[in-house]
Symmetry: C2
Subunit: 178 residues, 2 copies
């Protein structure tokens, strides 16, 4: 039982159950990590504060790749600073809580890995705490540069349900990713 | 295996592992729900916006009891409105994501059940989305009216690490709970 508890890592406890039924032989750390690891594309981006995701905003970062190491998420992004496209590497550290990561970047961030479908999409909700304010930034990543209208609509509806405006959501699937 | 996945409810996947090692026979829905159900006391309260937790603020609510029904959390609180002490019942609905609940109250709330120790304390982080703004409200509940300095200090340090001030934390263990 103890083995089973330990081997049920990030993916299982973060909302996969409804979309993917796993068998016992899937429960190896190596396979677990493959679910989030690898190449991703930023498809949609939304924030309570649009300046955070506007051009050269601190959270307008285009995911390229995720590596999972010891339960921590190492994200490699492309971002624009002073008119130049640069690489940005961010490491979100695991916490005691499943699905919850901490990231020191532009203040402190609580990141919740909300849902995913193996090899299709992943959704992260980030709460940025900066200078005594909190803002939300939502990211929809795809294994492909674009995703189905259904997946994108669900992401948008979820964000709008929090009381924000449609203008605060950016579909970046067709944009230059930097 | 399927049974095991289904039977591992709220408690397991929300950060219990480091503090409580469970055996297979613990995994019944009934026992699972007992971990959160029952009588609680509000010990500490913190927010990015102190007006939310000030006297008659919408989140200055003193937990009395939690009931878990079909995975949803039904909380019974005491709160003060227009100088009178009244009961408030709030139902946080489960989501597809473990540890994550939604509550319609003073806007929309994402509630994350962060950590707990059976029959000792429970910690909830609530992100309130209201009129296009987001604020954080952190709650520390105890099975007893007060908790050890160690548990309270950890709650405070976690809140301060997000960049907020000590004045935004209220120790209500000695206050009139209404």
């Amino acid at each position: 039982m103890k083995f089973l508890l330990l081997s049920m890592g990030v993916a299982l406890v973060c909302g996969f159950q409804p979309e993917y039924s796993r068998s016992q032989e899937d429960l190896s750390d190596e396979k677990e990590q493959k679910w989030l690891s690898g190449h991703w594309h930023l498809v949609e981006l939304a924030s309570s504060d649009t300046s955070l995701i506007g051009v050269e905003g601190p959270f307008r970062n285009f995911i390229q790749n995720i590596t999972v190491e010891n339960g921590n998420l190492n994200g490699l992004f492309l971002t624009r600073k002073n008119g130049r496209c640069i690489q940005l590497s961010l490491i979100a550290l695991k916490t005691k809580e499943a699905c919850h990561f901490k990231l020191n970047y532009h203040g402190i961030n609580d990141i919740y890995y909300e849902s995913s479908k193996t090899n299709e999409y992943a959704r992260f909700i980030l709460y940025n705490h900066h200078n005594g304010k909190v803002n939300v930034v939502a990211n929809l990543f795809g294994r492909t540069p674009n995703l189905s209208d259904e997946i994108k609509k669900k992401f948008e509806e979820d964000f709008l349900s929090r009381g924000y405006r449609k203008e605060n959501i950016l579909d970046v699937s067709e944009l230059d990713h930097c």
